[in-house]
Amino acid sequence: MNKEFKVLAKPYMVWLSILVFVPILAMLVISFSNLNSSVSIGEMSLSLTHFDLLWERSTIIAFRNSLLFAFATTLISFVLGYFIAYEIKLSKFKNKFILLTFVILPMWSNLILRTESLTNIMSENNILKSILGFNIFGNISGTWVAVLFGLVFTYMPFMILSVYTALEKIDYALEEAALDLGLRPIKKFWKVVFPLSFKGVVTGSIMVFLPTLAGFAIPKILSRGRIVFIGNIIEQKFIYTNYNHGALLAVVILIFILGSILLLTKFDKEGETLL
């Protein structure tokens, strides 16, 4: 690489080391130690006894919840998000940027605030009901439907954006070539458009899957604490200073993240679809 670029990259490398590498290293070390509220740093030693946590029923259920909801959110985001992205691509509307802005518009408000409002309008008495006279969502706050809705609502824009980027890169001449070679429009979609946008689907899926898997705020607020994700347990462990427990679970999540990135690089070597 160019020498000037190396110099320019230095501040970022320092940033990356202090805020990413060092904490991850610390987390790895702590996850193999006995460090918790009753042990001070001076008395820290290697310990694997707390690994029992991984086979505890509550942990397994939390992992199951996280994975189940992450998969469901990704699947729904993929089906709906692909459809929306495709419609945006096909629309005759001149300024597609405005359409995309609408997609990311909700992100302009704070995530916690947005989720709190969502749970509010999902409960029995809310402001929308007094305005409209009826309840849009019914009384679903606290149920798994509410959590799933909140997750899809929050993370689907990532899917839409990355699929749209991939779709937009497909040369229209390729679609014409497929028609010219005798493919009907539906077959053209499955044989040309979909395979060529698949990278965007993979990128989008990972961008939806990871935050859903590791997140804790949305399930906590929308389920009113009834559905526990692995993120909620990690949060609890750190709040009650069970550092080794928290770190261990965080490392497990990290393994999932690395696995996903590996998958991504397999499909998208140039990182084209990452915005």
Binding site: D171, A173, E176, A178, L179, D180, G182, R184
Partner: protein
């Protein structure tokens, strides 16, 4: 040409974009096994005509008739026509062989059974069934593969089956695009400036190969280009277009030697166009000199445009010359020399093998059969 069957007939077709007429009431008949070129500058409507035949554009008025049937409302996938696109449009997610087999791979079994015919499939089954019985589908798949390899052999790319298309050079991609269209055995192959992106040497090679392929395969080629030399080299007939209107239709020779108007004369190669007077039968006057001519009938005394190609001047001794002029510009072109000769205030472009110095006097004559005349167009 007259005894051949008409394959495509365009009847009074028109198309406009934003109120601008890009194809204006065009009538054209394309015959079986011919190499027809639509020639004209960009924006003359040639690509629009091609896309109407391919089915990507529906004409606003008129009919596209193929094999005697009206094809106006038939979508592209239902037409016996394939296109070689300007930028090739190869599928980047497939390797070379799957690009070529793409069309056939995605046809219905019914279509493929008819495409290959019972006998060919039976033969293939017999060929494959040495150890165990082979299904019809498997035989068809095998035929598709063999045909695709054969098509790649035709374009001299049979060593590249498993290559990704983005690992091919422009010329190779061009050939894959050609094979991809040819493997479907279309009745008509449309080529939309397919050579425009290639360098000169490669382009010239491809010109000969395309012509050769068209001759051996017996497919009708409809070629679109803005390059007059390309059109001359390959075509059986050329259609010269301007602003959505056909200017002239004819063999390369007739268009070159007998252009119908100034536009065609200028577009097809370098030329001299002079204003003259048709004195009487077989006698024309231009640059103040009477010349014998032949084969034209105008009114006596009518004004005409005289076209003389630069290579049609004969350079002779000054005593024998009908026109004498001073050489004002010279260019060595390898085979011949190009001169600009000033004769009575008119600059004439002359090609000759003789060499002259700047400022030297050159004597010129013209044989009667080299003098071509056009009716003077209104407004010129």
């Amino acid at each position: 040409m007259e005894n051949k069957n008409a394959l495509i007939e365009l009847k009074n077709i028109s198309k406009s974009y934003d109120d601008e007429l890009v194809v204006n009431n065009v009538n054209l008949t394309i015959y079986e096994n011919e190499f027809l070129t639509l020639l004209g500058p960009s924006g003359c409507g040639k690509t629009t005509i091609l896309r109407m035949i391919a089915g990507f554009i529906v004409p606003e008025a008129g009919e596209v008739i193929i094999n005697g049937k009206n094809f106006n409302d038939l979508p592209p996938y239902a037409r016996p026509i394939h296109t070689v696109f300007q930028k090739y449009a190869l599928f980047p997610h497939l390797d070379v062989i799957n690009n070529v087999a793409f069309g056939l791979n995605n046809r219905s079994w019914d279509y493929l059974e008819k495409f290959y015919g019972e006998e060919k499939i039976k033969n293939e089954i017999a060929l494959l069934s040495t150890k165990k019985e082979v299904s019809i589908k498997k035989a068809i798949k095998s035929l598709i593969y063999k045909d695709s390899v054969q098509a790649l052999k035709l374009v001299k790319l049979d060593g590249f089956l498993k290559r990704k298309v983005d690992q091919l050079s422009g010329g190779q991609q061009q050939r894959v695009a050609l094979a991809r269209a040819l493997v479907n055995k279309p009745q008509i192959l449309l080529l939309d400036e397919p050579l425009a992106a290639l360098d000169l040497k490669l382009r010239q090679n491809m010109q000969y190969e395309l012509k050769e392929m068209q001759r051996t395969l017996g497919i009708t080629f409809l070629f679109v280009t803005h390059d007059q030399e390309e059109a001359m080299t390959m075509s059986d007939r050329i259609v010269v277009m301007k602003e959505g209107v056909i200017q002239q239709l004819g063999t390369p020779k007739s268009i070159y030697n007998e252009p119908i108007n100034r536009y065609v004369a200028n577009f097809i190669g370098e030329t001299n166009i002079l204003r003259g007077t048709y004195v009487k039968k077989d006698l024309v006057n231009f640059l103040g000199v009477d010349f014998a001519c032949m084969g034209y009938n105008f009114l006596d005394g009518e004004e005409v445009d005289v076209v003389i190609r630069p290579e049609d001047f004969d350079v002779v001794n000054l005593e024998k010359a009908k026109l004498v002029g001073e050489c004002v510009f010279s260019l060595f072109k390898g085979v011949h020399n190009e001169y600009e000769v000033m004769v009575k205030g008119e600059k004439l472009l002359v090609h000759t093998y003789e060499s002259y110095e700047l400022g030297q006097l050159i004597g010129l004559t013209i044989d009667p059969y080299e003098i071509h005349m056009m009716k003077v167009e209104k407004g010129e």
